[in-house]
């Protein structure tokens, strides 16, 4: 079965520009997660979707970050405007449901903000 797909793999932008990342989860997975992984740290949850509804976005900087999963399948994460501290790897993961199900991760998008 196909894994979690993400694009682009790399992105370099200047501060105050906008950027968008795309994620396509494993087919049939109802739950989708976006994590931010800053260099040298473990991933931190930004937002969790269950189908097309938001379960948890408590750590999403809503003044600049937004995410959607309109049809309950693929998802986009946007940053506008970007700051230097947003430089990180953005990981998308999916799972069949919640309740401790295994999460499967995509390859990530590495963002560098100059």
């Amino acid at each position: 079965e196909a894994g979690v797909a993400q694009s682009p793999r790399y992105k370099i932008i200047e501060k105050r520009q906008s950027v968008a990342f795309w994620c396509n989860p494993i087919s049939g997975h109802a739950t989708l997660y976006w994590y931010q992984q800053i260099l040298g740290q473990g991933p931190k949850l930004l937002i969790q979707f269950q189908n097309n509804g938001v379960v948890d976005d408590s750590q999403l900087p809503k003044d600049r970050f937004s995410a959607e999963r309109l049809k309950g399948v693929d998802s986009t994460l946007k940053i506008q405007p970007a700051k230097l501290e947003d430089s990180a790897v953005y990981l998308c993961a999916s799972s069949i449901g919640t309740g401790g199900e295994t999460q499967y991760f995509g390859p990530g998008t590495r963002l560098l903000v100059l």
């Binding site: 473990g42 948890d56 790897v89 990981l91 401790g100 999460q103 990530g108």
Partner: protein, 112 residues
């Protein structure tokens, strides 16, 4: 809230030897799950092993096993017969049934 602590930033092991990576956690959840994930230099996060906290039996997956001490809130990973391909960042994570809470990771170096 859940916190996960990995006290070993780096570990080294010789090929064919055994190494143990440490992890402690704190949670207020009565039902929770614990995971070890591996992140090779290509950065794709891969599940190594999963443990349901209500199960007393330690999980095993081939050369990988855990020592789950619920009272001590400890969840260490043992890698037996280490191989060069085991070199990676290893993250311990906990979940109360939703998102994962990760530790800072342990970088494992495997020497020939």
């Amino acid at each position: 809230a859940q916190t996960v602590t990995q006290s070993q930033p780096e570990m080294s092991v010789q090929e064919a030897e055994t190494v143990t990576l440490s992890c402690t956690y704190d949670t207020s959840e009565s039902d929770y799950y614990l995971f070890w994930y591996k992140q090779p230099p290509s950065r794709q996060m891969i599940l190594v092993i999963r443990q349901e906290a209500y199960k007393q039996q330690n999980a095993t997956e081939n050369r990988f096993s855990v020592n789950f001490q619920k009272a001590a809130k400890s969840f260490s990973l043992k890698i037996s017969d280490s191989q060069l391909g085991d070199a990676a960042m290893y993250f311990c994570a906990s979940s109360g049934g939703y998102a994962l809470n990760f530790g800072k990771g342990t970088s494992l170096l495997v020497t020939p």
